[in-house]
């Protein structure tokens, strides 16, 4: 039997749009999306560090951009993506240990991830403004 026969006209499994979005699935998708966002977000980190190395005037320019309303919004999203991806990662560590696969456990973990990430992000920003 050749490969052509194997890839013949067989029915395909249903894709995302068929399924009702459930919390664990949304958390899984968000984990990947936040990961990809953080990937490109590192450009902001690199720019900030290189600006700091370049000198005071250029650093103040970049810092000014990051301190603007738009900059703060982007950095707020960056913080949430970071925290969410980290909590999602901790959830994966629990699964790696073979735990947390039960119906209740995985629902609880999914809720803890989203509630925890939003709460922790807000707390971090409150602290950030407080120490300013």
């Amino acid at each position: 039997m050749s490969n052509a026969d194997l890839r013949g006209n067989r029915p395909l499994s249903p894709h995302l749009q068929i399924y009702k979005p459930i919390l664990t699935m949304v958390m899984s998708i968000l984990h990947r999306i936040t990961g990809a966002a953080l990937y490109f977000g590192t450009l902001l980190l690199a720019w900030w560090l290189i600006a700091a190395a370049a000198g005071p005037s250029y650093f103040d320019f970049v810092n000014g951009l990051y301190g603007s309303i738009l900059g703060q919004l982007v950095l707020f999203g960056f913080t949430w993506a970071l925290v969410h991806h980290m909590l999602g990662g901790l959830r994966h560590f629990i699964w790696d240990m073979g735990a947390g696969f039960g119906t209740q456990a995985r629902e609880w973990l999914a809720k803890a991830t989203i509630i925890g990430s939003v709460a922790l992000t807000l707390i971090l920003w409150v602290i950030g403004y407080a120490v300013r």
């Binding site: 590192t42 690199a46 560090l49 700091a52 190395a53 005071p56 913080t79 970071l82 980290m86 950030g128």
Partner: protein
């Protein structure tokens, strides 16, 4: 037909790519490191809120801060390279464009990594 091995025999041991769980393990290893390293970085950034360029440079010149910051960059960039590789392999199906995407992924991560490392070293060495 030169290969007389059965499909099962091909994937036994380290599998057809001969890498086994290497990718998975490195991904998890850097993930564990990132939990601590990125937490350090977030705390560092928060503690530097409202400080001037001079104050930031003074903090980054502390060797301990420099070294941990370099580890943040190293572990973070490695982790994101592995992660983006999985995303590309999942969604990009054409052989040519997949190959180019995987190369671009490596180039981007190396560029970000070395850009950040250069900046931290320059500040750390007082340049």
């Amino acid at each position: 037909m030169t290969d007389m091995r059965t499909p099962l025999n091909i994937v036994r041991g380290l599998g057809s790519a001969k890498e086994g769980t290497d990718h998975f393990w490195k991904q998890r290893l850097t993930a564990v490191a990132n939990v601590f390293l990125i937490s350090f970085f977030v705390i560092l950034v928060i503690s530097m809120q409202g400080s001037t360029h001079g104050e930031l440079i003074e903090t980054l010149r502390n060797p301990l801060v420099s070294i941990v910051l370099l580890l943040v960059i190293l572990s973070g960039v490695f982790h994101m390279k592995l992660g983006m590789q999985v995303i590309i392999e999942d969604y990009v199906h054409g052989e040519g464009i997949k190959f180019l995407s995987l190369m671009a992924n490596t180039f981007f991560c190396v560029f970000i990594g070395f850009g950040c490392i250069f900046a931290v070293l320059k500040i750390g060495f007082g340049g």
